[in-house]
């Protein structure tokens, strides 16, 4: 497995979706290659940073309308 190949398998690796033989080669490569170790670490970091981003929300108007609809929704 080359570095160029490894970088394309990172998401499959993080999902635990590599077949056992490929995973073994992936892990072996990581253990001897500083560049790929850094790359995988940066992908993990990217996932963590993405998780910190709150996506934009609704406009205040729609939000108010929905809160109002919820308040007045008929319940039994």
């Amino acid at each position: 497995m080359t570095c160029a190949e490894l970088v394309e398998l990172v998401t499959a690796f993080l999902d635990g979706a590599l077949d056992p033989e490929t995973e073994e080669r992936f892990v072996h490569h990581l253990s001897i290659c500083e560049g790929c170790d850094i790359y995988v670490e940066q992908m993990r970091r990217t996932v963590a940073e993405v998780g910190q981003v709150g996506p934009e929300g609704l406009s205040g108007e729609t939000r108010d309308r929905l809160l109002d609809a919820f308040r007045t929704f008929p319940r039994d």
Partner: protein, 208 residues
């Protein structure tokens, strides 16, 4: 976010705090998801609104066979599809082939004539930690801008997986895409965001 049991009970009882919590937590992802089916931001807002109205109506029948979030998002996809058909704009999730090509610039790797073909020419530079509040804020802004620049399908899959924390299986079912396709889309999205972060750290944010 409280557990599904608490959320469902809150919605059924008309607890406003519960609903406000869901509205704040999920509406952003829902907008993004809606946006892949309809043509304008205003339309997407209406899809989200109609989804919540359908949730009020249907919550009494929710049986907990999936998570509440998955259930709500499924309603959204149905609402959005219906509307997208009227607007003649549906991103054909199933028929699209995954984007092709490498996610890392091939010039970063050694060529075929090299003794180590496919090896890094130079290792990626290590990134600084962002304990510093100002830097952390800039990083978040960089990531947010990077997500906005992604193609809609990548935005949606990245949002569902890495912001909402949904499982790969749930995302596949929700969007009607294969496991392999889901993974390719997610990988491209993450690699693109990583590329933006790398540019940020190796240029503007390098002084720390």
């Amino acid at each position: 976010m409280p557990s599904d049991d608490v959320l469902v009970a809150g919605l059924r009882a008309g607890d406003e705090e519960t609903f406000a919590c869901l509205l704040n937590g999920w509406s952003g992802s829902m907008l993004r998801l809606a946006r892949t089916f309809v043509s304008t931001a205003a339309s997407a807002e209406e899809v989200v609104q109609d989804t919540w109205l359908a949730v009020f109506q249907g919550i009494g029948r929710f049986e907990g066979r999936s998570s509440l979030q998955t259930w709500v998002y499924r309603i959204l996809v149905n609402v959005a599809r219906r509307r997208g058909t009227h607007e003649q704009r549906t991103v054909p999730w199933t028929s699209l082939l995954p984007d092709e090509g490498p996610t890392v610039d091939p010039s970063r790797f050694r060529g075929a004539e090299d003794p180590y073909p496919g090896g890094w020419r130079a290792f990626p530079e290590r990134w600084p930690t962002t304990e510093n509040e100002v830097l952390a804020h800039e990083v978040r802004a960089t990531v947010a801008a990077a997500i906005e620049k992604l193609p809609p399908r990548q935005q949606v899959v990245l949002t569902l997986r890495d912001i909402d924390g949904q499982s790969a299986d749930d995302v596949c079912v929700l969007l009607g895409i294969s496991t392999a396709n889901q993974r390719v889309i997610l990988h491209r999205a993450r690699a693109a965001v990583r590329g933006h972060l790398e540019r940020y750290f190796t240029t503007a944010g390098a002084e720390s």
